[in-house]
Symmetry: C2
Subunit: 304 residues, 2 copies
Amino acid sequence: MIDVIVLGAAAGGGFPQWNSAAPGCVAARTRQGAKARTQASLAVSADGKRWFILNASPDLRQQIIDTPALHHQGSLRGTPIQGVVLTCGEIDAITGLLTLREREPFTLMGSDSTLQQLADNPIFGALDPEIVPRVPLILDEATSLMNKDGIPSGLLLTAFAVPGKAPLYAEAAGSRPDETLGLSITDGCKTMLFIPGCAQITSEIVERVAAADLVFFDGTLWRDDEMIRAGLSPKSGQRMGHVSVNDAGGPVECFTTCEKPRKVLIHINNSNPILFEDSPERKDVERAGWTVAEDGMTFRLDTP
Amino acid sequence: MIDVIVLGAAAGGGFPQWNSAAPGCVAARTRQGAKARTQASLAVSADGKRWFILNASPDLRQQIIDTPALHHQGSLRGTPIQGVVLTCGEIDAITGLLTLREREPFTLMGSDSTLQQLADNPIFGALDPEIVPRVPLILDEATSLMNKDGIPSGLLLTAFAVPGKAPLYAEAAGSRPDETLGLSITDGCKTMLFIPGCAQITSEIVERVAAADLVFFDGTLWRDDEMIRAGLSPKSGQRMGHVSVNDAGGPVECFTTCEKPRKVLIHINNSNPILFEDSPERKDVERAGWTVAEDGMTFRLDTP
């Protein structure tokens, strides 16, 4: 069994974004036609008791408060969180680590590049590596996600590189092949994928999606020039390291023949019209078989 | 006039703290006998329209959502926030800066030590200094808080050093005299103080409090060995850089003759019994003339 909780479904900045009065953000703020969403993160478990967090969003403190499965019970201090797996070093994927201070043991996993970005920022020393060991992920190799008591969780993780870009604050250092990851998690029977950022859908990614049972995929933008056309930013989706949902080469097109998995869009930017519940774009993606992720959604892959 | 909104009233970790099942945190989580609080921050304004944020807590995104006065209206992007003033470089005072990314101009003010700590962490480069200028505070000198349009806000800020300690993640670098600040803000008529962390109450601090109209003071712990006795941490209040509310040399005792100001405890740790609404300690501090800060509380100092 794999249980999944969507802790947050929005891209960096969240929905609404702090400084935005664009129509989507106003709708989310006033709860009229669009639901607010915190920044993207998943909780994953094989037993419904011990959880692994995929990306530590800046909203993690609030996400834990809103998610009873992640509340500690019993002794004075503790957590059902066994580990955190990072797909990249972007602010919206790592800032929540600063919430997980307070000398609480868990395992922190990420690529060499991402762990190096943490090491380059002394503030993350608040998570003492003696208490929160930092474990580099070996790409394309299945590793058992271990509970804190040393017993295998029942989940196997395979991290793989996907086209992306360096974190905004580290762009000057240039691009590294392991800077953006996809994660494949299996209980040996069913498989889920988490690919919240992806600049290009390769044939390898299509193969992985076709074989999976549940896929959370980069839903940042509807179209590549969306931010530019809306007057929100000079940056294209490609410049930000994201393929766009409805463009040629995007997930709707590329995964159209992948009929096995449940397909979910996550890491959705506040400019994306699929966030409006009644928009034509929302109807389009739903008609194409996609679910638009919301905070608090749960998914279960049952072992037959 | 000075308007103040308490954006958050809790110490680092917030209330409840993510990994705590101590009685206070359970009470806050279940809303039985104690109100939840986000991490300490104030918003201050001379006109109720343009605001300055004192400390950028990790909860700042949620705090802005919960505070209509801080919502931008009108154009696509913007903010009523004119500037952010930091009292120290602790995680609970600076992490919220990462929420204020998105190329939105405002002024960032802090001591040389605190600005150096930001510079030592490239992640804060997400706030491009070309867009968010970093202005070192000159201690003990009144400076006009300027709105973004270059017009004085009507508020004068004086920052002064108080006994404290280096941020947790920078303790190895040793202590610096300007690492912990108190802030005095006046409209030329009324004066408020913000001293969320203070390891020792000096005669200078007593003089400032006696002359002020509104004081927000370090309410981290009730007694110095509170965390140790509760089995929560091996650290004393002194080790964490905080004088304790009810100890000899604490604010209740030292400011007992300061009858002019309204006195408010802020930056309250989740172990502090004053967070229980019906506790004897809560009654004690209220009887001594103190208010225990809550998120969303507002204060106004009127100019006669």
